[in-house]
């Protein structure tokens, strides 16, 4: 097991590094952070001075190398956009995104399991058809549109229709004023962004759980248990559910990486200063140090979750042995 993990980690490292190189190259090809000096007093000379200072006149490989050597020492450089320290900017942004992803996964998992099991147990019932339809709709909706509609009908709408003083759900940032901490206001602000982030996951995972549950429920050992007289409910929980969860858990772990892409939309719509927002702002200006660091951090998380998925699969299913 340990050997397996090590091998996977070692293999991922060069992939991540190459991804970072590609991104650095792409950004440098497209943007020029020193261009803004052309209209300053120094004119072209200022531009040249800036390029020298930022090492922009060197070939891309040497720029990358100097970034890498500094990065392994913990210095991720300075943002070309805000002059802030890249490391701390990412750390601050990551804190917000982690919150979204954490609550999102929690909500999705609970809902997906609940809905999936219900659908499987009550297969072909009205409830099942409704849920299936909703899943299809959930998968077909662009998440950003869902977010806007959610704001319109769950927040702003009710405020206007019922003449409330405030919207039921907050949709700007995660807190009011500069309050922090876990309180009702925080939850109010969480609901809509988390829903927007997870509408597709909930749809997908609940379908998956339903299919997985049906597979298991028709398995021999379940029928054996029923034949032996075990109560239906116990069969469901003790045998079926536990086994049906295995594939779901691995799918979830694989999908979590994709959530890092989903937060881009969510954080834009709900004005949350997380990694997605940081990415958009950096991309718009071609802030290379920030983008490269962002890619590496995100890639590490994706790799991590993929690894967890594989390990979980091996751990949960005794038939699999990871070599």
């Amino acid at each position: 097991m340990v050997a397996y993990i090590l091998r996977r980690v070692l293999y991922s490292i060069p992939v991540i590094l190459i991804a970072a190189l590609i991104l650095l190259w792409g950004v440098r090809e497209t943007f020029d952070p020193c261009a803004q000096f052309r209209t300053s007093r120094g004119g072209q000379a200022s531009v040249e001075r800036c390029r020298k200072a930022d090492h922009l006149d060197e070939p891309i490989t040497s720029q990358y190398w100097s970034w890498l050597t500094k990065a392994v020492q913990g210095d991720l450089g300075q943002s070309e956009r805000t002059n802030a320290d890249v490391g701390s900017t990412i750390a601050t942004a990551m804190w917000y995104t982690i919150q979204l992803i954490f609550w999102g996964v929690l909500l999705s998992a609970l809902l997906a399991i609940a809905l999936g099991v219900y659908s499987a147990v009550r297969q072909y019932s009205v409830g099942d058809y409704i849920l299936t339809t909703l899943s299809f709709i959930g998968l077909a909706m662009p998440p950003f549109w869902f977010g806007l509609i959610a704001i319109q009908f769950l927040a702003v709408g009710p405020k206007n229709w019922f003449g409330l003083d405030r919207t039921i759900f907050g949709f700007v940032g995660l807190h009011n004023g500069d309050s922090t901490g876990f309180d009702l206001d925080y939850v109010r602000h969480l609901v809509l962004p988390v829903l927007t982030l997870t509408v597709q996951s909930i749809a997908e995972w609940s379908r998956f759980q339903r299919a997985s549950m049906l597979d298991v429920m028709s398995a021999d050992y379940v029928r054996t248990a029923r034949a032996k007289g075990v109560r239906r409910r116990d069969v469901l929980v003790k045998h079926a559910l536990r086994n049906a969860l295995i594939p779901l858990v691995t799918v979830m772990a694989l999908d979590i990486g994709g959530l890092f892409g989903g937060v881009i939309i969510t954080e834009k719509i709900f004005a949350i200063p997380g990694m997605g927002r940081l990415f958009l702002d950096s991309l718009q200006q071609g802030d290379a140090p920030m983008l490269v660091a962002w890619t590496v951090v995100t890639a590490v998380f994706v790799v991590l979750f993929n690894l967890i998925a594989d390990i979980l699969y091996g751990v949960l299913d005794p038939r699999i042995r990871l070599a």
Binding site: V15, I16, I18, A19, I22, L23, G26, V27, E29, T30, F31, Q123, F136, I137, L139, A140, M141, P142, P143, F144, W145, L148, I149, I151, Q152, A155, V156, G157, N160, R210, A211, L214, F260, G261, I264, I265, K268, I269, F279, L280, L283, L291, T295, T298, A299, V302, V303
Partner: protein
Amino acid sequence: MTTPAIEEVRAEEGVFEPVARSQWQLFRRRFFRHRGAIISMVVLILLAILCFGAGFIAPYANNQQDLLLGPVSPNAHHWLGTDELGRDQLTRLLYAGQLSLKIGFAVAIISTIVGTMIGAVAGYFGRAADQLLMRLTDLFLLVPAIAILALALEKFGHTDTVIILFLSLLFWMYVARIVRGDVLQLKEKEFIEAARASGASWLRIVVRHIIPNIIGPIMVNVTLGVATAIITESTLSFLGFGVQPPQTSWGNMLSDAEGYVGTSKSYLLYAPGIMILITVLCVNFIGDGLRDAFDPQSEKH
């Protein structure tokens, strides 16, 4: 590829006779049993006719502005209302559909063709080619897709051709991986061995024997590709990385409408989103139908 299958029994004057049916006929029958898929096909064809026939159907000229009128809510003259420049939303919706549908289908077709070829070759030859493909796709799974797309659009211009090219560039890898997996399984089957023994070239084997047998998953992937391409294009446009006026897509229309949540102009939000929803829903249903048609075991649940 007409492996006969004993499918149905027909009662005729008390005589029971087994009737052989071809694969294609079986597929067709199973597909048409899927009501959702049939309805979706009809809806989709209707949609395509409406959008690409916008020149004849739309009530106003494309991009016709009416600055004096400005934005008005849906009424008898403008069924879906108008936007800030007085442009009829229904007209815009239809013309925008041309772009969204075009991009969706083009990306799906291109990436499927390219992905299938490469995936089949990699899966068939295995070893080095296979490893290369896997590592390449791993890499592109890590680099954020939106970053590549945004950079490419910034550099090469915000045109639909660039969008189609780069979206296809990112999708073919996903297709290739799946195809490669299927081919790996298929490779060991006897009829492939037989073909190889009879001296057929690899190209012939791949094209005539392997691909036709995985046409099922391939077709399903096409539909998935269309759905994903449409949603991705609309997301890109929404973020501001999409096409430039006078071209417009549904995502673009939603990007314009974003600021109007909660205002009197919120009607601008609904139509384009609903169109995307309907299109993708139909595509997904068709994909579901295809999947059921190709593999009856994956059916009822």
